[in-house]
Amino acid sequence: MRTADLLALATESLRLHRLRTTLTVTGIAIGVTAVLLLTTLGEAAKRYVVQEFASIGTNLVIVVPGRTETTGFPGATGGTVRNLTIADAAAIARQAPAVRLVAPMSAGTASFEYAGRSRDIRVLGTTAEYAAVRNVAMRLGSFLPPGDPERGAPAAVIGSTVQREVFGNENPLGRQVRIGRWRFRVIGVMEESGQSFGLNTDDAAMVPVATCLRMFDQPTLFRVAVQVRDAALMPEALGQIRDVLLRRHDNEEDFTLITQDAMLATFKAVIDALTAALAGIAAVSLAVAGIGIMNVMLVSVSERTGEIGLLKALGARRRQILRLFLTEALLLAGGGALAGIVAGLAIVFAGAATWPDLPLRPSPTWLAVVSVLALGAGLLFGLMPARRAARLPAAEALRGHA
């Protein structure tokens, strides 16, 4: 049979039962839309995370005190932990040739006071290198000045939220403020950067690392951020950093090196798993819709027993009957896929327009996957009714029963 004739015959019989056809197509469309939306959301989440990671700097290695068994995430510590010191950070900068910049970091929480106003903020201690390592953009003034990291000047760089909440329209540059029991002079305001990595630097103040350690009476750094010269040098850099620290820590590996890639990979894996789980749940609705197709096709076969007998009497082969009914099932599934994709894309584009921050974009891969899934469901659930039709004995079918 010619393909055009096959499609025409199948369409004619589907058109006869408009409501039934529409409902079945809608079932498939809902499944397709659900899979499409959830996977698009997952992809958007992944893209968002990648963007966030890119914004915190490139070719980063984070040194965390303590040993974690699993790589990729700063976790529970174990074994004897030596302090990670400013001297360690300086040693990495001096002795690891593959390293470009090193920024030691410490952290605490204190109240920020100015002109009678007070606000609890995060206090981060670091050095001038931090600005380059983490892509810090300045709104006003300048970042912490370079100098001996062991010596702390009473200078503070504040985040945009602190500026807005504490200073309002007043220019904060050069103002004397109090952070905890310590006095500082504001030398710069950072550009708004948002939440990155659970660390909101908008509602924080940056002070020299040595000062920060003294303020909070901490013996160890919170972490050391290291920027490697080149992505290709990453393995070498990791080796060099490890060697330097092992030498300084009596060969005890009481620190953990986390690369940006490893963290990103972990996040991606988590999001992928979530996306797959959600898509799986959505796929269940597609399977249910597939059973809908099977039901409609079974009804159709039993209603059209006489017609099938006639087609056989007119010389239709089993295979042609099979293909005719399979084509009907596939048209239902294909129509559903098309409607579902159109609806899904409409929602995605509407969502992208409504929340410009969320990188919602339809993925061609998932469009293909969901189309294949829908047509596969049509084929799978259409096969049984179509085979039943093809196997009807001609003489009995002609009499209207089989």
């Binding site: 049979m1 010619r2 004739d5 015959l9 004619e12 019989s13 058109r15 006869l16 006489g306 017609e307 007998g309 006639l310 087609l311 056989k312 009497a313 007119l314 010389g315 239709a316 082969r317 089993r318 295979r319 042609q320 001609a394 003489a395 002609l398």
Partner: protein, 247 residues
């Protein structure tokens, strides 16, 4: 075409035989008992004959017609259609035989309700992959032959019973079959419409079509060139009112 078996009627030329049945038998199992629906039937139908198969209901004439139409396969015996044995062919081969050589006309017309008259007539050619241009031409010719050109785009429910049966006859003859098998073609029609259908069948017969008709209407049987009476699955009398029956 050389028939291998002995001709049932030695007087006729072998290549003129369209249907040759020899000891054709069809058994059904009903519970524990066996029903011999068609029992050792032997006869020939020659090209251009108009044969009526008559008998009371349950005499096996419909089963025999199904066997002739390759919709059913015999339990034993042989059936040659235009010299070619068709018993034991696969389903697909039988479908091919039906498509090329057999036209069916049913008592209840069996038109597809959602399709126009023209589309119904076109239907058998769809499965034979006939190109659309050829189809259009043949549909037009077949509908003209039954006088329904003006009804081509009407659906069956817009047609009278007689018109429906004429559409069915156009459909049955559109692939130029070797035989036309008609199962009570006037059974659902009033006298007037029935007479029209009989006249149409007679005309097709005069134009050379071989027809086998099943009926229990004696007046319809009387139009046939040859009458075969069936009872309990057997052929009782071989020759009816006409003698020979060839056009």
């Amino acid at each position: 075409m050389t028939p291998a078996g002995p001709p049932a009627d030695p007087g006729r030329a072998a290549d003129d035989v369209v249907i040759r049945l020899e000891h054709l038998t069809r058994l059904y199992r009903v519970g524990d008992s066996e029903v011999r629906a068609v029992d050792d039937v032997t006869f020939d139908v020659r090209r251009g004959e108009f044969v009526a198969l008559m008998g009371p209901s349950g005499s096996g004439k419909s089963t025999l017609l199904n066997l002739l139409g390759c919709l059913d396969t015999p339990t034993s015996g042989t059936y040659r259609l235009e010299g070619e044995p068709v018993q034991g062919l696969t389903e697909d081969r039988l479908a091919h035989v039906r498509q090329r050589r057999i036209g069916f006309v049913f008592q209840a017309y069996h038109l597809v309700a959602r399709m126009t008259a023209a589309r119904n007539v076109e239907l058998p050619m769809l499965f034979a992959s006939v190109p659309p241009a050829v189809r259009r031409e043949r549909v037009a010719r077949a509908l003209a032959a039954v006088g329904l050109t003006h009804r081509a785009h009407h659906r069956p429910d817009q047609l009278s019973g007689g018109e429906r049966q004429r559409v069915a006859i156009a459909r049955a003859t559109v692939n130029a079959p070797a035989i036309l098998l008609a199962d009570e073609p006037t059974g659902n029609l009033d006298t007037h419409a029935g007479a029209e259908i009989v006249a149409l069948l007679e005309r097709l017969h005069r134009e050379g079509l071989t027809i086998v008709l099943v009926t229990h209407d004696p007046s319809l049987g009387g139009h046939a060139g040859r009458l075969l009476r069936m009872r309990d699955g057997r052929i009782l009398a071989k020759d009816g009112p006409g003698t020979g029956g060839a056009a």
